[in-house]
Each structure stands twice: as structure tokens, then as C-alpha cells.
């Protein structure tokens, strides 16, 4: 299967790989997995006092499209409020990376990772 240039770029030079301390109250962690291919994705957001995402890191075990989707998302969420971040749709990711239909689930995974991270943040804040 041919990957688009953008996927290859993110795959070869992934942005923001790594992680933060998940027990830090300002760190939001989203863990998601895709049963279809066994991919696992961890997305972490560092949220400032004002609710703005200051930094983001990811770690993904999966195909090129899954890595590219999560790498792209870490770039997109920076500077956004957590609510704005949840408005990122898998279709935006798929379009930006020109993902073929069989790889759409990789972009769904990345969208769900943002949602899972935001939920984690909200539950941390309310406790």
C-alpha cells in the first residue's frame, strides 16, 4: 500500500514522541487501542492553569498511519483549549494525511485518544 508523503514524513520524523508523568494532575492521559489491527496509542496532554494545552506527547505501537495520525494530533492540539481539542474530527485527520479507506480506523483511534485524554483530565480535576 502506498502511504502519502505526509504520512511518511510523520512516520520518519514523528513529532513529540514520549510521555509525561501520568500521576501529575495537569497531565491528561488517553489510552486507546484498535482491535482491528492491535494498534495501541497513548496520548498525553499537558494542560495549563487556563485550560490551554501547552504540550502534547504520544507513544503509538502500530502501522505508519496510526503513528502519523497521533503525531499530527500532538501538533494540532497545542495551544488549543481542551474543549477545542475535542472538536478535532477523525475526518480532518484522514483528510490531512490522505489516508486510504482501509486506514480510516487509525484516524478514529487518534480522535478517540484526544477524547479519552480530555475525559481523564476532567475526572482528575473533579476529584
Amino acid at each position: 500500500m502506498a502511504y502519502s508523503e505526509k504520512v511518511i514524513d510523520h512516520y520518519e520524523n514523528p513529532r513529540n514522541v514520549g510521555g509525561f508523568d501520568k500521576n501529575d494532575p495537569n497531565i491528561a492521559t488517553g489510552m486507546v487501542g484498535a482491535p482491528a489491527c492491535g494498534d495501541v496509542m497513548k496520548l498525553q496532554l499537558k494542560v495549563g492553569e487556563n485550560g490551554i494545552i501547552e504540550d502534547a506527547k504520544f507513544k503509538t505501537y502500530g502501522c505508519g498511519s496510526a503513528i502519523a495520525s497521533s503525531s499530527l494530533v500532538t501538533e494540532w492540539v497545542k495551544g488549543k483549549s481542551i474543549d477545542e481539542a475535542t472538536s478535532i474530527k477523525n475526518t480532518d485527520i484522514a483528510e490531512e494525511l490522505a489516508l486510504p479507506p482501509v486506514k480510516i480506523h487509525c484516524s478514529i483511534l487518534a480522535e478517540d485518544a484526544i477524547k479519552a485524554a480530555v475525559e481523564d483530565y476532567k475526572s482528575k480535576q473533579s476529584s
Partner: protein
Amino acid sequence: MNYFSLFRLPEQFQVDTADLSRAYQTLAQITHPDKFATSSEREKRLAVQKNAQVNDGYQVLKTPILRAEHILELRGVELKHEQQTMQDTGFLMQQMEWRESLEEIQSTKNEDALLDMDGEIKSQIKNHLSLLEAELTKQNAESDKVAAEEVRKLKFMYKLRDEIELIEDALSDI
């Protein structure tokens, strides 16, 4: 298509492999395209279709995870692997840890650690399979849901097992 009816086997997770392969041999024989060499084009086409169905059914029935998925489908449980992401944080954290150790094992070429992990993953797969069987046997909507979740978890476990095998092959080639 109900492959259990096609193979005349009871619709359950536990399959007698001897019965299955006997049924397969019979069905493969009576639908074999060679038998239809002198038949009409339409009959030939039907035989090819039927033969393909028999082969697909055999794969499904002999492979535990595919068999479980088939049973769930027959019960109207949609698995939606493509759309539904797994969100079980504990399970996924463990997956992440395993993948990380596997990376470490691969770079250090630690065959002993690889063997240990291989054993661990295989015994985990066994546990998931017996849980899956227990849930499928209960035959109610709630346990079917748990069974579907077990199927999803098994997909990740099999992926790990496949990766371990690839590394085993690579290490033994050195």
C-alpha cells in the same frame, strides 16, 4: 451463512476437531470443481462458490477467535472492530508495557527474556480463550457483550504473539 449448519456441527464454541475435519473432507469432496467438469456453466459456477464457502467455513470453525466471532455474529452481536476503539485503560497499559519490553528484548537480543514473554503471552491467551468459552456458553446478551470484549482483547494478544514469533525467527537466523 451459518457455518455450523453447513458442517452439521452443534452451534457452540467447543468444536470436536475430528468431526470438523471429517465434515470438511466430505464437503470439500462433493463440491470439488473437478466433479463438475461435464456440468453446465451455471452448475460449475455454483460448485466453485460452494467450494469457496466450504473452505471459508473450515477456516472460521477451526480458528478459535474466528469461531467466536462467527457465533457472536449469528447471535446478532456486532463486533465493529473498525469503528469501536478499545478503552480499557488497564488492559492497554499492560499492552503498552509488553510492547516496550519486546522492543527492549529485540534491541538487546535477549533470547531468554523473549522465551519468558512468549510463555506469558501464550498462557494469557489461554486464559482469555477459556473466559471467552465460559461467556459464550451462558447464552445471554450480557455475557455475549463480555465475550465480544474478550474477542477484542484476544486480537491484541494475537498481535503480540505474532510479533514475538517474528522476533524469534529473526534471532534464530543470526
